[in-house]
Every structure is written in C-alpha cells, then in structure tokens.
C-alpha cells in the first residue's frame, strides 16, 4: 500500500517551539519559593573521608540546609542495580557495586559528591560549598586498566579481592581448530579510550514536594521518566501515583541520561521532601565532565584467523573494559562490543573473553554507540591489516566475508544486551556497500583522482567501512491514541524525547492510520501522568518500539472509527476511507463525517449505549519485539592530510543506511548528521585525558574539543530499505548508526592518505599530536 505520510520529508512539528525558545526545558521551570542546590565534590579520585564540618556553610545567610551522608540516616542507600548480568550466559562473574548519594567512607572518583548545599540562590549555594571544611586522606588511584588487575593493586572497593567487576566468556564454533587451519593469523593489541557524551544541555532536576497534596513532581532531564518515577516512589516510601516525573524537552540524551539514579536524581527529590520546598539543581559543564557517565575505555588483545583468499575463519578477542568506580549498568556495553566484534561478517568461530574492571574514574554507562564502535573498530582494523598482508583490495576482502542475503535471519549466537542469542533479523548488505562505493566514486577515485593528486604532492586517502547496529530492543513500550472532539488526535507515550523528532515521526505514524494532518496530531512524551508504562529512550529503540506501539494503538482507533462511521454513514467499512480528518465514502466523497463529530458521538452525554461499549475513539496498545532489529550501513570518506601539521580536511563524506522502513528521511538524515559529528569527535577530537592519579585534565570545552560547524563536512546520505520482519512498520533503529563506524573509517582513510608511511593505527581516539607521535615512531623503526 502506498503510504501518504510515512516516508515523507515532513518538517518537524516541534521546531517552531524549539526555534523560538518556547519549548520547556528543566531549567525553564520556575516555582515560587524555589531553592537551589550546589554540590561539594571531591578533588581527589581516591581518598578516605576523615571528617567533614559544614557548620560555617549552614551559618551563611541564605543557606537553608546542608546535607552529608550522615544526615541522610537510613535514607542513605546506593542506587539500584539497573541491569543484571545475562541469566542466559554461563559462568558469569559479576560484582555489583553501585553509586552512592553522598560519599560516606571513601571517595572513588574525582567529582564524587560529598555534601549538598540548599540555598536561596545558586550563587549563595556555591559560596557555601567553599565554606565546608572537609578532610580527605588521598589514596593511590587506580587509573590504568591493566594495572588495576595486577597483584597488589589498590582496591576501588575494599571488600572485593581485586578490581575485577565482572568476567564473561562467549564462544561460537571452535576458534582454536579454525586457527590451526588458517593461512594467516593476525595478532594485535587495539586500544580505545574514553570520551564524553557532551550533550548541549547538561543534566538538571527540579523537585517539588507539595506537603498539602502529598504529591511529588519532578522535572528531570532523564531518558527514562517512568523507571525514575517508580524508583523514586519506592525509595521515598510513596505510592507511585504520588509521584509525577516529567522529562520535558531535553537538549540531548546520548545514553548518559539513561543512567538511573544519579546521586543528584535521588537527593534533590529527597531534600525537597525534607524541606517541603521546591529545589532546582542544574548541572554545570564542569560537573558534567566529572559526574555524568562516560564511555569507551577498552584494551583488546585480538587474533583474526584467515584463509589465503581472505575468508575469515575465526576471531578471538580477550579484552578489558573500564566501568569506572561503579557498575550499575551491568554488562550492557561489553555485551554490545562482543555482538559487534564480528561486524556484518559471516564468522563461524569466535571466542571473546571480557574482564570488566573498576577504576577510580567517572562511571561508565552507554554513550551513543554503547560498545558497538569498539567492536566495529577492531574487526575493521583487523580486516585492513589482513587486506594489506594478503594483497587483497580492502573492499574485496569485506565483500567476501559479508553475511549473504539468503542467510537471514542469521543466528549470530552471541548473547546480546537483551540476554538472548543475537539474531540478525534481515539484511542485504552488499547493495548498501555498493551504493556507498558508487556515491563516493570509489573506482574512479582510486584509479584516477588519487594518483593525480598524489602526483601534485597531496596526501588524500579514502576509507570505506560497513557496520551493523543492533537496535530496537525490548522489553516493550506503549501508547494511548485519542481522537478528540476537535478532530485532532492526542497521543501519549512513555518514552522521553531528547531531540529525535518524536513529535513528528510519531505523528506521521498516527496520520497514516487516521488520515489527519501531521500537524493535527499532538504528542506527549515522557510525562508519567499521561502514560506510565514503559522503559525509556535508549538503544536506538524509540522509532522501533514506541513507534510500533503507537502504530498498534492508532490501528485500533482506526477500527473503532470505521465501525462507528459504518453505522452512521450506512456504508460498509470496506467502502470507507479516512482522508483529511474525515471518514468518507470512497466513491461519493461528499457523503462524510468528520473525526471530531464521530468522537462526540462516541462519547454521548445522554441515552443508552450497547453493553460492552467503550466510550470515545481511544485505544491503548503495547509493542514488544521478539528480539532487537539489526540495521546495517556503510560510511565512506575522502580525507586530505597536511603531513607536516597533521591537520585534516574531510573532502567527501558518504553514509548509506539500511534501517528498514524510513519514517521521515529529513529526520533520519538529521540523526545521521548528529551521529557522524559525534563519531568524528570520537575519531580525532574528543578524548578525556585522565592522568595516573585519576584526575581529568580537560574538564571544560576549552580543552575537551567537540567538532563544531567548522570541522563538519557536508554529509551525503543514501538510503536502502530492507524492512524488519519483527514489527508491522518494518522499522529498525538508527540513532547510533552515524557514530559507530567513524573511528574505524578515519583510521583506514588516514593510513590510505599517508601511503608512503608504514603506519598502522591501533587506537582511537587519535589527534594531530598522537598521529605525529605514531609517525615519529614509524620513522624510528624503519
């Protein structure tokens, strides 16, 4: 069936509000009598808390309260474990250690909160933070991943025998046997390091406990308002319906805002109840660098076994994963890494052993990509090395190993973040890669343009990187769709929104079923009073899981509309169509009734209705996928390097995405652009520099460099649609796709550009400085 709304380049419903400053963000919330919070945070990464004296702070005019861990009494409790290790995996070691509201015994990472000041203004609160006298005994910090597991290392958690947080082995086939048969075995150490999510809006919370109504309202920059509500109710001894959590417009989530129960998220509502006053806390950028979760620190020792003709026989990977000071998020990231280590390739034999380690650094939870970029980086680097060693073209070696279209659904067999053996639902990979090659003019570039430019003394390189992205995992989401008497449609769903364009794509899904204008569909996301079942916006699942729940609800409403209209218009349902806000008889369009009139008729004020009738044109439905949908894509890039200054210029950037049914190409492209920007940051600009004492050396945007407009290339986006069989809309997620392959792509293109050097890039992120060091080393080793 041709679609009228889905797949169209519809402009975003939410943009007029956002662009004119009319959208509500947490910091826009103003309540009479509202107080402001500021935190005392540790300067040390690892230290014993000896004493704390808050008396001077309490005496400062304008200070209402100062709380320490001691002041919280029984209410002081670590955060809840969010994700348990997969019950389906064998012999898993997992030590759950969760973040605490305020430091009680010892500090485990720089920036950990020790006390909170509540005052009449943020200025006064920050002044009072400086009044607090705290005595900390510095301890040796655990910073390096390998050293953390060495005998005699300082312990992040004194009650554990070592800094090992978790251990898991996953196997498929028989790697050792495959290795025996191999013509070539490549062995390398590959390292990935940390970056920040660096959302434009930092975290923020306003909590308002109303003593008279015994009701708590919390505005929170969370990606998961419903779990926050449920958790707060449990922790604060309230009924869930006494707590309303609103995630209003949020200026970027990227994963860290999915972390549940940051210390501040627990403390601000708790303090509001203690003081019976509304309290606001807005994280500042410096706090964000220390207190908001980060990702990507892993050390991999990998082996790739291949036959002479470039077929991968097996892959073995032993790696360390840095979880920071606590591990509330379980094994989500390393599981994602394991599931992406084989990339889009048909690999029969695989062994992966991960050791998760505690360090005295900020907590690690998923950041856009969530372990996937690491996996893709490793397999793609190994394939580039293999291509060189075997003398096979870098595209050809990939083509030979791609999972063929007839193999879908493809049993990947490795346990994924949803605890089930990963199955790749659908795909047709080569046409996507081919399209990227065509778009960038691969053959022409390699055969003609590159030699010509090289002759002119230019260093230009090309890269092409395919990748998979597991998306759209369960458990479920839901939505309620209501046709109002005005003829407009109201939709409520539980997921939060952080810029994804939900107000438009969700409206398109509804419009498709009900034949109303996209602008006549009003969406509310992330307000627990409007909808209180669901989990949140993460893992590239909004359009897949919430999207299909909305589709299901809208389909039911459509049936109700048709049923009622059939009676009123005295026409069989099959002859009716929903167009322009009307139900009309297909052959006689003047014979019609508006949705608004039908909604009124469905909710009569007087008279009798048939038994069993539900009022209104409304439906609530849920969707939970059998398992996650897996998207595919390929990025290609032409880069020029000044080999004297290590400065780069991206000349072309192509992405081709296959994320199933495209709901709105405009929004999809926006997602890709943002993702690529983050990926470019990961590849060449962004790196959190921790020293051996666990101190972060670049906790500001002056020193932590995110790509800006001047670094961003024009991105050309191509689409291929292989629908997912797992949901009615056929959608797959795309939220993280832009980011995942970029570090791998950069390495490939840089090596290709510096063609006269024996450069082998085995780490990400890079930087001009690091590239210079690598080249100096290369020169020395010649």
């Amino acid at each position: 069936m041709t679609k009228k709304f889905i797949g169209k380049r519809v402009k975003r419903n939410e943009d007029p509000r956002l662009l004119t400053g009319q959208a509500l963000f947490v910091d826009d919330v103003e309540i009479p009598g509202m107080l402001h919070a500021a935190f005392l945070r540790s300067d040390y990464a690892h230290a014993r808390l000896l004493s704390i004296d808050v008396s001077a702070a309490r005496q400062r005019p304008g200070v209402v309260a100062v709380f320490t861990a001691e002041d919280m009494g029984e209410d002081w409790q670590p955060g809840p474990p969010l994700v348990s290790p997969p019950p389906t995996a064998k012999d898993v070691i997992f030590h759950s250690r969760r973040q605490v509201p305020l430091v009680k015994d010892k500090v485990r990472h720089a920036g950990e909160a020790i006390a909170v000041v509540i005052a009449e203004s943020r200025y006064i609160a920050e002044d009072a933070v400086e009044d607090i006298l705290v005595e900390l005994e510095p301890l040796e910090a655990v910073s390096d991943l390998e050293k953390s597991l060495q005998e005699g290392s300082t312990l992040v958690h004194d009650d554990l025998e070592s800094n090992l947080a978790a251990h898991l082995i996953q196997k498929k086939g028989d790697y050792e046997a495959a290795r025996e048969k191999a013509d070539l075995v490549i062995t390398r150490r590959i390292v990935t390091d940390r970056g920040a999510a660096a959302a434009m809006e930092n975290r923020g919370i306003v909590a308002h406990w109303d003593e008279k109504s015994q009701h708590l309202t919390v505005w929170d920059t969370t990606q998961a308002p419903i779990p926050i509500r449920n958790g707060l109710a449990a922790r604060l001894g309230l009924s869930a319906n006494q707590v309303r959590v609103i995630a209003p417009f949020v200026g970027g989530g990227f994963g860290p805002k999915m972390m549940m129960f940051y210390p501040e998220e627990m403390l601000i509502p708790w303090a509001s109840m203690k003081l019976s006053r509304p309290i606001k806390w807005i994280e500042d950028r410096r706090e964000n660098f220390y207190a908001t979760t980060q990702e990507r620190g892993q050390n991999h020792d990998v082996e790739l076994a291949l036959s002479r003709d470039g077929h991968i026989l097996g892959l073995k990977d032993v790696f360390l994963h840095d979880t920071g000071a606590y591990d509330p998020y379980g094994l989500t990231i390393p599981l994602n890494t394991q599931c992406h280590l084989m990339g889009p390739y048909d690999i029969e034999n695989f062994t992966s052993e991960v050791s998760v380690v505690f360090t005295n650094k900020t907590l690690v939870t998923p950041v856009r990509g969530a372990g996937r970029p690491q996996g893709i980086f490793i397999i793609e680097r190994l394939l580039d090395i293999a291509a060189k060693e075997l003398g096979i073209d870098q595209v050809e070696i990939r083509k030979r190993n791609l999972i063929p279209p007839e193999a879908f659904p493809y049993e990947h067999k490795i346990i994924d973040q949803a605890f089930a053996p990963l199955v790749l639902d659908s795909g047709n990979y080569w046409p996507v890669m081919k399209k990227a090659l065509d778009m960038i003019g691969y053959d022409q570039f390699v055969k003609e343009e590159q030699p010509r430019l090289r002759a002119e003394g230019k260093y230009v390189g090309i890269g092409i990187t395919p990748f998979i992205e597991s998306t759209g995992v369960g458990p479920y989401e839901g939505a309620r769709v209501t046709v109002e008497a005005s003829g407009k449609v109201f939709v409520a769903t539980g997921v939060g929104t952080q810029g994804q364009g939900h107000f438009t794509t969700f409206a398109q899904i509804v419009a498709e079923q009900l034949g109303v204008a996209v602008s006549d569909v009003r969406i509310v996301t992330g307000d627990t009073t409007e909808f209180h079942w669901g989990t949140g916006t993460f893992a590239s699942r909004g359009a897949v899981v919430a999207g299909n729940a909305i589709h299901a609800s809208a389909s039911i409403v459509r049936q109700k509309v048709l049923k009622l209209a059939c009676k009123i218009l005295e026409t069989p349902e099959e002859e009716l169509e929903l167009e322009c806000g009307l139900v009309r008889v297909a052959d006689t369009p003047h014979k019609s009734i508006s949705l608004g009139e039908l909604a009124l008729l469905a909710n009569p004020l007087r008279g009798a209705v048939e038994p069993g009738t539900e009022p209104g044109l409304e439906a609530t439905a849920y969707f939970g996928p059998q398992y996650g949908a897996t998207a595919f894509g390929t990025h290609a890039m032409i880069i020029e390097i000044d080999p004297e200054t290590m400065m780069i210029a991206i000349k072309r950037y192509i992405t081709v995405e296959d994320c199933g049914t495209v709901l709105n190409p405009l929004i999809l492209e926006g997602q890709i652009h943002g993702g690529v920007s983050m990926g470019i940051g990961n590849a060449y600009y962004e790196k959190l520099h921790f020293d051996e004492n666990g101190q972060l050396l670049n906790a500001s945007f002056a020193d932590y460099l995110i790509p800006s407009a001047t670094e961003m290339p024009r991105i050309e986006v191509g689409h291929v649609e292989t629908t997912s069989p797992l949901n009615e809309l056929g959608t797959k997620g795309v939220g993280e796709a832009g980011t995942i392959p970029v570090p791998a792509l950069f390495s490939q293109a840089i090596e290709n550009a510096l063609y006269n050097r024996e450069l082998e890039i085995l780490e990400t992120p890079l930087s001009p400085n690091r590239l210079f060091e690598l080249l100096v080393n290369e020169e020395k080793s010649r």
Binding site: E126, S700, E773
Partner: protein, 293 residues
C-alpha cells in the same frame, strides 16, 4: 560555575576608573570584553573583590592614524571593529590578517584589543603580533602616563608591566617600512581554538633584496611572546633563499622557543610545528616583501 561575590563599578571616564583602581589596588580587576576574565571568575579561578568595568568609557574605543603614518587603537576597541576597519587593512596588514584568526566571531564581537594585551596570554595572537610589529602601549595611572614598548611590556605568563592602579589605554603600531612583508601562520585543533603554535613574521629587504631585518614572534611556544632572536640574526644580510629560510626555521624551532607539553601537544610536536610554520611564514613574508616595493 557562579562567581564569588564582588563589588562592581561601571565608570564612564578613564579618570573615574583610575580612582576606583587607586582605591582598591590589588583587590580590583579591570573588566574589558570579559572573554577570559568572566570564565575564570565563573570557574572561581580568580575571585576579585572589586570589578571595574570599562565598557561604558566611550573615549577608549577608536581607531585612527597617527602623524607618522602608524595606527592608534583605543584599548576598548572590539576585535570585530579592528577586523573590518579599512584603515587597519591599509596600515597594518599583519593585524588585518590576524584578526579573523582570533577565536570565534562571537568572541571577537565582544573581546577588546587592550583586554587581550593586558591579559597577556602567551597563546593570544595580539600579544605576539604587537611585539612583531614593534608596537608601544600607553599605560595610564592616577599619577600620569607612560609609554612602554611591546617587547618590554610582557614579562611572563599572564604577567605585564601594568601596575594594579594602571590601565592600558592605547596601543600604537608603527607603519611598515618599504620592502616589508608579513605573515601570520598558526595551527589550531579547530580554527577557533588557541593555536598549538603560531608565528608572526615581519621581514624587510634592503635595496639589494637581501634580508635587512627579520622578526619572528611565536605564540604558544613559551611563557610569553617568544622572539626568535637567533633565527633573525641568521637571516640578516642573507638572500632569502629556501635554504636560508629552512635554516632559520630550524634555529627558531630548536633554539629560540621554549614550548611546554600539555594534552594537546608535546613540546616535541610544538617544536616540529614551529619549524614548519616558521618556514611557511618566512616564505610568505619574503614573497610579500619582494612585491611591496
């Protein structure tokens, strides 16, 4: 990231501003464009108890020529004004070339000429450029004023000859001699970032097309503007061949500068970049000098 409490004065004349400074001495800080001071206060890296805001002093904002064909700039002239001023383009091409390389247009619309010089950040372009151009600064206190050459004004990291009761009120940049050429080259991670290394070069040829004078001043290469004396000496009287330029760049990078290491660049990388940039800047400056008859 809120500043500690402070008293705030917004005088409308220089005299009024100076009297506040005389009264509060070391406790006071002068606020010009605020592009460095305000973030530092918000980070609580500095906590002045008194802020004397110069933004309402109209008499500090101007660009005009002086009798000797040079340029006079009032301390509160915004970077953007300097950037677009036709007189600057005509009389001080190096400055004209430099302005767009300073930070972002947002910062340039607010940041001031005198503010950047008084802050004396060794990675600030104007610090090195004013030395390269042989500039002079007029400093004024309640007890009168004095002129200080740029190469004496900067005495260390964020440190100048300014007394706490003085304000840098004006900069004077002399005109360029004939057969002179200049260049500013820098490498920054992103165009608007502080440069990893930069260099301002000003060269003058004699009538025989030999190098009469070559001045290179590096930024982000030490505790202040780093003048490449030895490199300049090596070029004097030489024909500006590629060989001579390469040799001078090598001397400058290895002997004249003292760069440090940080997360963005090791000292080794900075010296390497200084070498590359010195070569490129000298080549361009000599080319321009040859054209500037």
């Amino acid at each position: 990231m809120k500043p500690a409490p402070f008293e705030y004065y917004a005088p409308t004349t220089i005299d009024e501003a100076l009297s506040h400074l005389a009264e509060h001495g070391y406790d006071a800080k002068v606020l010009a464009g605020g592009q460095s001071l305000i973030p530092m206060m918000n980070f609580r890296l500095v906590q002045p108890s008194v802020l004397v805001d110069l933004n309402n002093i109209a008499e500090l904002s101007y660009i005009h020529p002086d009798e000797s064909g040079g340029l006079r700039l009032g301390a509160m002239t915004r970077h953007h004004q300097v950037e677009v001023d036709p007189l600057v383009a005509e009389l001080a091409p190096l400055l004209h070339e430099t302005m767009p390389k300073i930070a972002t247009s947002q910062i340039r619309s607010r940041g001031t000429f005198g503010g950047s010089l008084s802050h004396a950040d060794p990675s600030a372009e104007l610090v090195s450029v004013s030395v390269a151009l042989d500039g002079r600064f007029r400093l004024r206190g309640q007890n009168g004023e004095r002129w200080v050459p740029a190469n004496e004004f900067f005495i260390g990291l964020f440190t100048t000859l300014l007394e706490p009761d003085e304000i840098l009120v004006e900069a004077a940049l002399p005109s360029m001699p004939v057969r002179s050429g200049c260049s500013l080259m820098e490498v920054a991670r992103r165009p608007h970032d502080f440069a990893l290394v930069g260099v301002a070069a000003v060269v003058t040829l004699d009538e025989n097309k030999l190098c009469q004078q070559a001045r290179m001043v590096f930024l982000s290469a030490g505790d202040g503007p780093m003048v490449a004396h030895k490199a300049a000496e090596s070029l004097k009287g030489q024909a500006p061949t590629l060989e001579a330029i390469r040799a001078a760049a090598e001397i400058a990078a290895s002997e004249d500068i003292d760069p440090g290491s940080d997360i963005h660049a090791t000292a080794e990388f900075r010296r390497h970049l200084a070498n590359v940039l010195a070569r490129r800047a000298l080549e361009q400056a000599f080319e321009r000098a040859a054209d500037n008859k």
